[in-house]
């Protein structure tokens, strides 16, 4: 990108030099970046004393944002590849329930339950993709069908087996399990203890945990979110496969003509989305110690909203994982921030609707800028 100068021997007089602003505008992350700055400025000004920026408050909205990020990464790559997955929320409920049934009801070791559940989810993701590719139907319809199919099983299975819709007791069986710790554990606990002793973060002032930090480590949920964002970003921007993702979503026919294996790319992205949903579910089950039939409701839309706020086009072929992560951050900070600020929580939905509308309008405008359409 630095060698533009030497090539401009004869320039077309009708091609105006791009202003720095215009150049910045066509970066997909811009909307997310501006939104993040705006949201933080707002809450720093109006809710600084609410406890939102104490160590506990930061951990609170970070965790919520991380949840959104995990499913947003999958939804983002899939949307750039030109498809949707509306079954993400049901997949979260289903995979959480499978882990609980396999480990608690059937008494399998937790690590085996997790691995089998992941395998099942990825196969369902592949099935989603295969049906979309084979039938040529819009992924909207195919995954809508799976939204109901998976949710139906998530309610039916525990009711038939245990006569209830929540299966608890996962925490007890997961005690000491090596794989469960990868989803439910915390890292850097030593560091946080040290920070508590050094007086850098709050500690409990009384009770059995006196002297211990209020926030005692970084949950694996956040670690997963960061790993998935970095992985997704590098995959999309720095690899051959990333170019294929853009191409498949930009124009599947043109991509096929150039030798891009479009079907494989799309099916793999469906599988990756299912994988992300499963990571979300496993972390959630390990955190709560239980699985419920209503878990993950509406998550597919929240993931899509985060991705759109992050600058991706609903029509595919354009977007950014970093943008989607920022969208998820905005989402989490606002949802928890309004809670801290004592605002009626239903207003969050109003905010969400408005910001979604703004994001889509902005993205459409940016698309025109890039493609030179009028």
């Amino acid at each position: 990108m630095s060698q533009t100068a030497q090539s401009q021997t004869v320039s077309d007089e009708r091609v105006k030099e791009m202003s720095a602003l215009r150049r910045a505008l066509i970066r997909p992350e811009l909307g997310g970046l501006v939104g993040t700055v705006a949201v933080f400025t707002f809450f720093l000004l109006f809710a600084f004393d609410s406890g939102m920026f104490s160590s506990q408050g930061v951990m609170n909205w970070s965790t919520v944002s991380a949840q959104f990020m995990i499913i947003a990464v999958g939804a983002c790559l899939l949307m750039i590849a030109g498809e949707f997955d509306l079954s993400v929320g049901s997949m979260i409920g289903f995979s959480g329930m499978m882990i609980a049934i396999l480990s608690v009801t059937l008494g399998w070791p937790v690590w085996l339950a997790i691995i089998v559940t992941f395998a099942m989810c990825i196969v369902i993701g592949a099935l989603n993709g295969y049906i979309v590719i084979r039938t040529g139907l819009p992924s909207f319809i195919v995954t809508l069908a799976f939204l109901f199919i998976l949710r139906g099983f998530t309610i039916y299975l525990p009711q038939t087996i245990e006569r209830k819709t929540i299966i608890s007791g996962v925490r007890d069986v997961a005690e000491g399990d090596w794989l469960a710790a990868l989803f439910g554990g915390k890292i850097l606990t030593g560091f946080f203890t040290w920070m508590g002793q050094a007086g850098l973060i709050e500690t409990f002032e009384r009770g059995t945990r006196e002297g211990q930090p209020v926030v005692d480590g970084i949950p694996m949920l956040i670690v997963w979110a960061i790993i998935l964002v970095i992985f997704g970003h590098i995959l999309l921007t720095r690899t051959r496969f990333g170019n294929w993702i853009f191409a498949s979503g930009g124009d599947a026919e043109a991509a096929r003509n150039s030798g891009v294996p479009v079907s494989r790319v799309k099916i793999l992205m469906f599988m990756f989305t299912a994988f992300c949903a499963c990571v979300f579910a496993t972390c959630q089950v390990m955190e709560f110690g239980s699985a419920g039939a209503d878990r993950g409701l509406l998550k597919e839309f929240e993931a899509i909203i985060a991705v759109v706020i992050g600058g991706a086009l609903l029509t595919g072929g354009y977007g950014s994982v970093i943008g989607a992560a920022l969208g998820a951050l905005i989402f989490g900070v606002v949802q928890q921030g309004l809670f801290f600020a004592g605002v009626e929580s239903s207003l969050f939905r109003v905010f969400l609707g408005i910001i979604l509308l703004f994001a889509v309008i902005l993205n459409t405008y940016i698309r025109r800028l890039i493609t030179g359409e009028r």
Binding site: M1, Q3, T4, S7, Q8, T9, V10, S11, D12, V15, E17, M18, I26, R238, T239, R240, G242, N243, W244, F246, A247, G250, D251, E253, A254, A255, N257, S258, G259, V260, L313, G317, Y318, R367, I370, T371, G372, E373
Partner: protein, 264 residues
């Protein structure tokens, strides 16, 4: 022109027939294409041009007839076979992705890789450098390799697609109606590009229904009509009017042309 006659044809299509069920799309078409020539394939809509080039590029298998490529009989199972043998097709619309940068488009499906440890990454520096160089050779000045293809004109997009095919080793370049949707100036640019490609000893098969575009760059002309060839003519042996008549099947057009004052 004389040097060409001692060359062997790079691709010979001999008595190609193609039937779709009861419909005979091609009824025995023979065409030879030599390296370094621009062979124009003319014909009206429905004449069988598309079927013919799809047979050449491996999309269709001929019902009867033989394809000799570089002296050997060839059987392409799918377009990828043809592409790896060196037969590239540039489609009229389905070639470029507007939202992607020129450099990403240029290397789509052929991304250069650079190894970092055990992992392979898209070598953006190399891709950008090669793209800028190739675009400059074709006479297109980009703002930068990250400029989106959507900001290029139709003619420039065709040129990028042609440059891409040439860069990746095309020996036979099939251009499917590259000028049909373009303005005068852009058409001239694409025709100039065809001329540059021909000079690199690449065989160009130029499909068009515009006689003037064909005569501007063509070395030889084959006219298809209702799935049959009406023969191949050398440059200078045929007039635009004759070509036009052959394409339209003669008689009817004469009457039409009179009523329109000879403007077609």
């Amino acid at each position: 022109m004389n040097t060409r006659s001692i060359h062997e044809p790079i691709i010979r299509m001999i008595n190609i027939e193609k039937h779709f069920g009861s419909v005979i799309a091609l009824a025995g078409v023979s065409v030879d294409v030599y390296p370094g020539e621009c062979h124009c394939l003319l014909g009206d809509n429905g004449a069988g041009k598309s079927t013919f080039i799809k047979t050449m590029s491996g999309v269709h298998k001929p019902t009867a007839g033989e394809i000799i490529f570089e002296g050997k009989p060839m059987h392409f199972d799918d377009p990828r076979d043809a592409i790896s043998a060196g037969i590239a097709t540039v489609h009229q619309h389905l070639a470029m992705i507007p939202l992607m940068s020129v450099s990403r488009n240029f290397f789509m499906g052929n991304e250069p890789l650079k190894k970092i440890g055990p992992l392979k990454f898209f070598d953006h520096d190399l891709a950008n450098q090669v793209t800028m160089e190739e675009m400059r050779r074709m006479g297109i000045n980009l703002r930068g390799p990250d400029q989106a293809v959507g900001t290029l004109s139709g003619g420039e997009r065709q040129t990028v697609a042609i440059a891409r095919a040439v860069h990746f080793g095309a020996k036979v370049l099939i251009l499917d109606e590259p000028t049909s949707a373009l303005g005068v100036r852009q058409t001239a640019n694409v025709l100039a590009t065809i001329d540059k490609v021909r000079k690199q000893d690449i065989a160009v098969v130029f499909i068009t229904h515009n006689v003037r575009h064909a005569l501007a760059v063509g070395d030889r002309f084959t006219v298809l009509n209702r799935g049959q060839t009406l023969g191949t003519a050398q440059r200078g042996q045929i007039t635009p009017e004759e070509l036009q008549d052959m394409m339209a099947g003669g008689q009817e057009l004469v009457a039409l042309e009179d009523s329109l004052g000879g403007t077609i």
